[in-house]
C-alpha cells in the first residue's frame, strides 16, 4: 500500500495518538502505532490496552494494507523531514514502512498488525452528543480534582452522569469536589452513570483543542468500556468499576456568608500569598468581612512563613452575611481559581470548619467544594 499525505497532518495525527503509546512495554507491539487505510483516509491507532486513541488524516491511498511501526521513531523522523508531502510505502518482507519526503528516505521495521491488541468495539449502550465547547469547559474545571494516587480506584475517575438533556461530571480526591452540569445536544431516554478514568478525559480534553464541533459519547452495553468520538479522532477507554461516593450530599445546601470577589484580583492575591505559604504548611487564611451600613465588604487573603515573614492582601468584595474566616491549602485554592473564567468568583462559607464552596456566574452549572484546614487563628 502507498500513502501520500501532508507532513503537517501526519505530524499532528501522530502527536494525537502518541499519548496512548505504552510507556513501558510489557507487550512490545503497544509501543507501535497502527497504520491502516480507511475510506480514503489514513487511520493511526495507538493503545496501551487501557486507553486507545485513533485519529484520521486526509491522504491519497493506493492499494490495501496495515502495519505497525515504532511510534516514537516514526514520529521523530516525520518531525525532522523537510518537505511538504510524505509518501509511506508499506512493506511485507520484512514488515515495515519506507517513508520518503523529498530526497529523504527512511526505512522503519515494524511488527505485523495481527499482533496489535484489538480495540474493543463499543456498542449496544447509550449514546449522546455533547457540544464540544460545553464539554471541554466542564472537563477543564472538573478533571483536575480527581485523585492521583490509586488507594481508592473510583476516585481516580470522573463520574459521568447522563439524564434527560443534562450531563454531569464529578470528581473528588477526598479533600475537594468538583461538579459541573451542562446541556446535551439531544435528550436521551435512559439514565447513564459511569466512571471514566481521569487520564482518559484529560486526553479527550486535549484532543478537543483540535477544533471538533461535538463529542459523541457511547457506552458499551456491558458497562465496561466507553468511546468518545470527535470529528477526526476517537478515544476508547476501559471504565473504572465501583461505586462513586454520593457527591450530592457533600455539597452544602446553605451558607452563612457569601463573598463575590473580582476573579483576577483574587488570583493575584492568592498567588502572592502562596509565596509565603510555600515555606509554611501551605496555609492561606481568608477573612471575609461585610461592609458597614450596606457598604462594600472586604476579603483578606493572609499567609505566614514561620520566622521569614507574612503577607496580607485585602480585596474589595460584595459580602452578604456575617464576618467569617476560613483557611485553605494554597494548592487547592490556586487550582480552583486557575480554572475559573469570567469576572467574579463567589465564595460561600459558614464557619472556619465548614467547607468552602466556589461558584461563578459565568459557569452556571459548576460547584467546587474545598475542605478547610483546621489551623490556629
Amino acid at each position: 500500500m502507498q500513502v501520500t499525505c501532508l507532513r503537517e497532518n501526519l505530524s499532528r495525527g501522530l502527536a494525537n495518538v502518541s499519548r496512548a503509546v505504552a510507556a513501558r512495554a510489557t507487550l512490545p507491539v503497544t509501543q507501535n502505532v497502527l497504520l491502516e487505510g480507511d475510506n480514503g483516509q489514513l487511520k493511526l491507532t495507538a493503545t496501551n490496552t487501557e486507553i486507545s486513541i485513533s485519529t484520521w488524516i486526509g491522504a491519497q491511498i493506493e492499494g490495501e494494507g496495515t502495519v505497525t511501526v515504532p511510534a516514537r521513531m516514526l514520529t521523530d523522523f516525520v518531525n525532522s523531514l523537510p518537505g511538504q508531502t510524505v509518501n509511506i510505502e508499506f512493506k511485507n518482507e520484512p514488515v515495515g514502512v519506507v517513508v520518503t519526503c523529498d530526497k529523504f528516505n527512511g526505512t522503519i521495521n515494524g511488527i505485523a498488525s495481527e499482533e496489535f491488541p484489538p480495540i474493543p468495539t463499543v456498542d449496544g449502550g447509550a449514546s449522546v452528543t455533547i457540544p464540544a465547547d460545553t464539554f471541554r469547559g466542564a472537563l477543564e474545571r472538573v478533571v483536575f480534582a480527581a485523585a492521583t494516587d490509586d488507594s481508592r480506584p473510583v476516585l481516580t475517575g470522573v463520574k459521568v452522569e447522563l439524564e434527560e438533556d443534562k450531563f454531569t461530571l464529578a470528581a473528588a480526591d477526598g479533600f475537594r469536589l468538583a461538579v459541573e452540569s451542562g446541556k446535551l445536544g439531544a435528550s436521551i431516554d435512559s439514565e447513564v452513570g459511569v466512571i471514566v478514568p481521569a487520564k482518559t478525559l484529560a486526553e479527550v480534553e486535549r484532543l478537543l483543542g483540535d477544533g471538533s464541533s461535538s463529542v459523541e459519547l457511547s457506552v458499551d452495553a456491558n458497562g465496561r468500556s466507553a468511546k468518545f468520538r470527535l470529528d477526526t479522532s476517537e478515544v476508547v477507554t476501559a471504565l473504572v468499576q465501583g461505586t462513586f461516593p454520593d457527591y450530592e450530599k457533600l455539597i452544602p445546601t446553605s451558607y452563612g456568608t457569601k463573598a463575590t470577589i473580582d476573579l483576577s484580583s483574587m488570583v493575584q492575591a492568592t498567588r502572592a500569598a502562596s509565596i509565603f505559604a510555600r515555606d509554611g504548611s501551605g496555609i492561606i487564611r481568608v477573612v471575609v468581612s461585610p461592609g458597614e451600613d450596606d457598604g462594600a465588604g472586604a476579603v483578606k487573603v493572609i499567609s505566614r512563613a514561620e520566622e521569614v515573614g507574612s503577607n496580607e492582601n485585602e480585596l474589595d468584595a460584595a459580602v452578604e452575611g456575617e464576618e467569617t474566616k476560613v483557611a485553605f491549602n494554597s494548592k487547592f485554592l490556586m487550582d480552583v481559581l486557575n480554572v475559573m473564567n469570567g469576572d467574579d468568583v463567589d465564595l460561600e462559607t459558614t464557619t472556619p470548619s465548614s467547607p468552602g464552596v466556589f461558584r461563578s456566574e459565568k459557569h452556571e452549572g459548576y460547584t467546587h467544594v474545598v475542605m478547610p484546614m483546621f489551623v490556629q487563628w
Partner: protein, 603 residues
C-alpha cells in the same frame, strides 16, 4: 555427710570461680593491677588461648620484696585500708581477691622490682602452694606469668572455648581497656604473633587508631565534654557514614573503669537514632566522669557492672553529648566511605568490579580480626615518637575515603545541575559532585517542619470531604487509645467506630497535597503498623512524625523541574540536620573531586 567447714584450699577455689571464669578474666585482673600500679606500658603474651600460659609485663611501681608473698593472701590489697574507702573507690582493684584466686587455680610466678628498691624479687605459687621469696634480677615493674590455668579444676577447663575463641575474648577485652587508657601503651601477642598495639600517646584518637585502624580513627568525631558539672562525658563517636552491625564497638568507662552497661550502650544507640540506618551501630568510646561517691563498683564479682546513684542523669548526659556532636558535625556521606579500597562505586573502572565486594566485606568485619593485624605492626615503639602516630597505614593512599574525609558541618553550597533517574538531584559543589536523593532530602525537610509544628502544639489538620472508615487489627486499637493525644496533636482526627475500626475525619495537613483522602487514611494504618511494634515517648513520637514526613514527601520517580530541585536544595540547606533522612539513610552523597580526577586518569 555431716555439715563441715570447707578446707581453705577448696574455699579459695570456689571463690576463684567467682572472679576467674576464663583466661580473659585472668588477663583483666592482672592488667587492672598493672594499671593501678601506674604503668605506662603493659605487654600481654598469650599461649594457647591463655590456657597454656598468660604473661603480663608492666613498668609500674612494682611490689616490694617483703610484700610479695602478702599480695597472694586473700583479701590482701594496698589499694584501700578502711571500710570507708569502699564508698569512693578510685582504683580498679580493691578486694584483694585477684592474685589469690588465680594462684589457687594455676601456677603463678611473680617477678617484681619496686620503684624504691635496687633489686627485684621472685615469688612462685603453684596451685595454691606457696614458695619462698627469692631475690631476682628484674627491670622496673612487675611480670606475672600464669601457667596451666584450671588444670586442677577440670570442670572449668571443660567449659573453656577453643584457643581462638578465648583469644578473641582477651583481645576485645584488652582493646576496650586500651581505649579507656589511651596514655598506656598496650600490646598483645598470641603464640608469638602480635595482635594489638597502641602507642600510649594519651590521645584517644591514637588508641582508636591502634585498636580499629587509622581509617576508622580518621572518621571519629570528638564528644565535647561539658565539664562544668561533676557529671560529664568525653570520648569519640564514629561519624554516621561509619557504622557496624553490632553493639560490640561501643566502649564505655566510668571514672576510668571499663564497664559493660546495656543501659548506657542503649543511651548511645538512641542518640544515634536518625543518623544511622536501622540496626546499624556506631563505634564509640564514651568516658563518663562522675563524683567517686556516685558509683558503686562493688556489685559484680568481676566488676564488669557498676551501680549508679543517679543513673537517669548519666543516661541523659551521655545521650546529650553524643547527639550534640552528631548534629553539629554530621558530615556529608562520601561515596565509597566504608567501602572497598580503591573503589569509588559508580565510577569504578571496568574490570575492577570483582574485587570491590570482597574487599568491602573485609572492611565490614571486625578490625581486630587476624587478617588485618598487619595494619598494627608498623607502629613505632611505645611512648617514643608520638608525632608518627599520624602516619597513614599501608593502604591509606588507595582509599579516597580515609584520605579526604573531612567532616563538613553543614551542607556545602550547591548548584543544581539537573535530575537523574527521576530520583536524584545532581549538583556541583566546592569539592566535587553531589547526588541528593530527592525523597530522602524532602523527607528530612518535612520531618523537621512537622516536628516543629508538633512541638509548638500547632499542627494543622486537613479534614476529609467524607470521613473514611478504616479497619485495623485488634492490637492497633490499644495503640490508638494509648497515643490518642499525640495522634490528635499531629493532626489526625480519629474516632473509634466499633471494635476494630476507626473513623478518620482529618489528616495531618502535609499529607493532603501528596495523597488523596483515602491514601491519607491508609497512611494512618501504615503509621499504626509501624508504631504497634512498641516504643514509648520520644522514640515513638519521632517514628510517627517520620512516617508522616515520609508520606508527605516527593517520591522517587517523580519528575522535578529545575526550580523545584533548587527549591528543595534551598530548603535542605535550612534544616538542622541536612545529611540524613529521619530514618537514618543519607540524603546526599559526594563524588569527590580527587577521586573523579584519579578515575579519569587526569593525574
Amino acid at each position: 555427710m555431716p555439715i563441715q567447714v570447707l578446707s581453705d584450699d577448696l574455699a579459695s577455689r570456689i571463690a576463684a570461680g567467682e572472679v576467674i571464669e576464663r583466661p580473659a578474666s585472668v588477663v583483666k585482673e592482672l592488667v587492672e593491677n598493672s594499671l593501678d600500679a601506674n604503668s605506662t606500658r603493659i605487654d600481654v603474651h598469650i599461649v594457647g588461648g591463655g590456657a597454656q600460659s598468660i604473661t603480663v609485663v608492666d613498668n609500674g611501681q612494682g611490689i616490694p620484696a617483703d610484700e610479695l608473698s602478702v599480695a597472694f593472701e586473700r583479701f590482701a590489697t594496698s589499694k584501700i585500708d578502711e571500710s570507708s574507702d569502699l564508698i569512693s573507690i578510685g582504683t580498679l582493684g580493691f578486694r584483694g581477691e585477684a592474685l589469690p584466686s588465680i594462684s589457687s587455680v594455676a601456677r603463678v610466678e611473680a617477678i617484681s622490682k619496686h620503684i624504691e628498691s635496687d633489686a627485684g624479687a621472685r615469688y612462685l605459687v603453684d596451685f595454691g602452694k606457696s614458695n619462698a621469696v627469692e631475690p631476682a634480677g628484674a627491670p622496673q615493674g612487675t611480670r606475672i606469668e600464669v601457667v596451666g590455668l584450671f588444670k586442677n579444676v577440670p570442670a572449668r577447663l571443660k567449659f573453656l572455648g577453643s584457643a581462638g575463641r578465648e583469644l578473641s575474648r582477651i583481645q576485645s577485652m584488652l582493646a576496650s581497656l586500651a581505649l579507656v587508657y589511651p596514655h598506656v601503651a598496650f600490646s598483645l601477642s598470641a603464640d608469638g604473633r602480635e595482635r594489638l598495639r597502641t602507642i600510649g600517646s594519651g590521645k584517644l584518637v591514637d588508641a582508636v587508631s591502634g585498636v580499629y585502624g587509622a581509617k576508622v580513627a580518621d572518621q571519629m568525631l570528638e564528644l565535647e565534654p561539658d565539664d562544668s558539672t561533676a557529671f560529664y562525658v568525653d570520648g569519640l563517636i564514629s561519624s554516621p557514614s561509619l557504622n557496624r552491625s553490632n553493639r560490640t564497638y561501643m566502649t564505655i568507662s566510668v571514672n576510668g573503669r571499663w564497664i559493660q552497661s546495656r543501659r548506657l550502650s542503649y543511651a548511645i544507640e538512641q542518640a544515634c537514632h536518625g543518623f544511622l540506618p536501622e540496626r546499624r551501630f556506631p563505634i564509640a568510646v564514651a568516658r563518663i566522669n562522675t563524683p567517686l561517691g556516685d558509683v558503686d563498683a562493688n556489685v559484680h564479682p568481676a566488676k564488669a557492672e557498676v551501680r549508679f546513684l543517679r543513673e537517669d542523669l548519666i543516661y541523659s548526659v551521655v545521650q546529650r553529648a553524643v547527639r550534640g556532636v552528631l548534629s553539629a558535625s554530621a558530615p556529608v556521606h562520601e561515596l565509597g566511605a566504608g567501602r572497598a579500597a580503591g573503589s569509588i562505586g559508580l565510577l569504578r573502572a571496568p574490570g575492577r568490579t570483582s574485587d570491590s565486594t570482597a574487599a568491602g566485606s573485609i572492611d565490614a568485619s571486625p578490625s581486630l580480626s587476624p587478617s588485618q593485624k598487619s595494619g598494627f605492626t608498623q607502629w613505632p615503639e611505645p611512648s617514643t615518637v608520638v608525632e608518627q602516630s599520624i602516619l597513614p597505614d599501608t593502604d591509606a593512599d588507595l582509599t579516597g575515603a580515609a584520605a579526604t574525609s573531612t567532616p563538613k558541618e553543614t551542607l556545602p553550597v550547591l548548584r543544581v545541575v539537573g535530575q537523574a533517574h527521576e530520583t536524584y538531584i545532581l549538583a556541583e559543589g566546592p569539592d566535587g559532585v553531589y547526588l541528593v536523593d530527592q525523597h530522602a532530602a524532602h523527607e528530612r525537610v518535612m520531618f523537621e517542619r512537622v516536628r516543629e509544628r508538633f512541638d509548638q502544639n500547632a499542627s494543622e489538620s486537613q479534614p476529609l470531604l467524607e470521613p473514611a472508615t478504616i479497619d485495623i487489627g485488634p492490637g492497633s486499637m490499644s495503640t490508638v487509645q494509648e497515643h490518642l493525644d499525640e495522634l490528635n496533636r499531629v493532626g489526625w482526627g480519629v474516632e473509634e467506630f466499633g471494635t476494630n475500626s476507626l473513623i478518620v475525619r482529618s489528616v495531618p495537613a502535609s499529607l493532603a497535597t501528596r495523597a488523596s483522602g483515602d491514601g491519607a487514611g491508609q497512611v494512618f494504618v501504615r503509621v499504626l503498623d509501624e508504631l504497634s511494634e512498641g516504643g514509648t515517648g520520644e522514640t515513638w513520637r519521632n517514628r510517627m512524625l517520620a512516617t508522616i514526613a515520609c508520606h508527605s514527601s516527593v517520591r522517587a520517580g517523580q519528575i522535578l523541574s529545575t526550580d523545584e530541585c533548587k527549591d528543595l536544595i534551598r530548603q535542605l540547606e535550612k534544616v538542622e540536620r541536612p545529611n540524613t533522612c529521619p530514618h537514618g539513610r543519607p540524603t546526599i552523597i559526594q563524588l569527590n573531586m580527587n577521586d573523579l580526577e584519579r578515575e579519569f586518569k587526569r593525574r
